[in-house]
């Protein structure tokens, strides 16, 4: 893996994995910059949609962010505390996408 790349751990839970080939954990490699800016979470979301998503993109993405009801975690912390989509990704970051459950 080139030193120009970011290695990221990406995980899908709460049923989201069904959109991603029923696989929960991925390791993805992204360039350090995207569109002349440091690669951020929004870039990752769009990259996942274009490259890993297998079906029904409307259940993952809405406009340029995740659809309502999905919580994003950066290294086990709510992404809202990290700047949401503007969070600049770092090598080794672990990003988790959680679909909220409603059953009981």
């Amino acid at each position: 893996m080139s030193s120009d790349a970011l290695a990221l751990k990406v995980e899908f839970t709460g049923g989201l994995e069904l959109l991603f080939d029923n696989k929960k954990k991925y390791t993805v490699s992204l360039p350090r910059t995207t569109d002349d800016a440091p690669t951020n979470l929004t870039h990752l979301i769009l990259w996942l949609k274009d490259n890993l998503l297998k079906e029904r993109p409307e259940l993952f993405v809405e406009e340029r962010t995740v659809r309502p009801g999905i919580l994003v975690l950066v290294n086990e912390t709510d992404w809202e505390l990290e700047g949401e989509g503007d969070y600049q990704l770092k090598d080794g970051d672990e990003i988790i996408f959680i679909s909220t459950l409603h059953g009981g």
Binding site: T13, G14, G15, L18, L19, K24, R56, E58, L59, R67, P68, G69, L71, L73, E76, T77, D78, E80, L81, I98, S99, T100, L101, H102, G103, G104
Partner: protein
């Protein structure tokens, strides 16, 4: 404030000698009230442990009747109440009275709706969300904010579970702080559509009782966290640090900064209509 009886001392001995719990916490439980909305997979174990621990007053709200397909996880109900088609709230109360006849039970066979929510939930110190659909989860959160009480929210589906305390203390977020916009109907699956393992609801429901007991006994540390449970993953549990209350939240935000209002929310329509036919939507 009622004191413990001799019978209480015998019954709750293991909690009374517990360092860090003891008589003060037991008295707080005895004088506390909790309303559990949903007497299903989450509500049954939660009610069971709240009753056993000695919470003085328990409300049970459920409009449904017991069916044999519930018995795989709804452990307060039994074959007899399923055959009778007894309302779940009554069936649960029947079981709880056998465990602990010394506590007060308020049985409400009613569907929680915007028109009756305040009436049903008012007067309790704490609300447990053990329901199974998105509209009711938003409604419960809004009512918990309006009443100023914590909401211990559990959810389970398949092999996965989630647990979070909303509206806790002065800056704990509400459900709308985290999810201001509801998911569309097609994104939401239910246990009757996707299935669920009974021990998963059992684990989350039991942990809901724990959170409630910690809050009532003054043992909760008060930081907003989300517990994720995945029965087949290693590690199976993860705790996530959550955001604080949002100033702009339509429900719990600050006056003058709120975006939108909750007053005219049509909960069911707003959450994408009735629970969808999951098979038909293809996920």
């Amino acid at each position: 404030m009622s004191d413990l009886t001799l019978g209480d001392y015998q019954r709750y001995g293991r909690q009374l000698i517990l360092d860090g719990f003891g008589l003060p916490a037991q008295q707080k439980l005895k004088n506390a009230s909790v309303v559990v909305v949903g007497a299903g997979g989450l509500g049954c174990p939660a009610l069971q442990y709240l009753a056993a621990a000695g919470v003085g007053r328990l409300g049970i709200v459920d409009h449904d009747v017991v069916e044999v397909s519930n018995l795989q996880r709804q452990v307060l109900h039994n074959e007899n109440t399923a055959n009778m088609g007894m309302p779940k709230a009554e069936s649960a109360a029947l079981a709880l009275r056998k465990i602990n006849s010394t506590i007060q039970l308020d049985v409400h066979t009613a569907q929680l709706e915007p028109s009756n929510a305040r009436l049903l939930l008012e007067g309790y110190d704490l609300i447990l969300d053990c329901t199974d659909n998105a509209p009711t989860r938003y409604l419960l959160s809004d009512v918990a904010v309006a009443l100023g009480v914590p909401l211990v929210s559990g959810a389970a589906l398949g092999f996965d579970g989630q647990l979070c305390v909303y509206n806790l203390g002065v800056d704990g977020p509400c459900y709308r702080c985290l999810f201001p916009v509801p998911p569309t109907g097609g994104a939401v699956r239910s246990c009757s559509e996707a299935g669920v393992l009974g021990v998963v609801t059992g684990t989350i429901g039991t942990l809901q009782a724990l959170e409630a007991i910690k809050i009532l006994a003054g043992l909760h540390e008060g930081r907003p966290t989300l517990l994720l449970f995945s029965a087949l993953s290693m590690p199976p549990f993860r705790s996530i640090k959550l955001r604080a209350r949002s100033k702009t939240c339509a429900a719990c935000g600050q006056d003058g900064e709120r975006k939108g209002t909750i007053e005219e929310t049509d909960y069911v329509q707003w959450c994408g209509g009735a629970t969808p036919d999951f098979e038909a939507t293809g996920l």
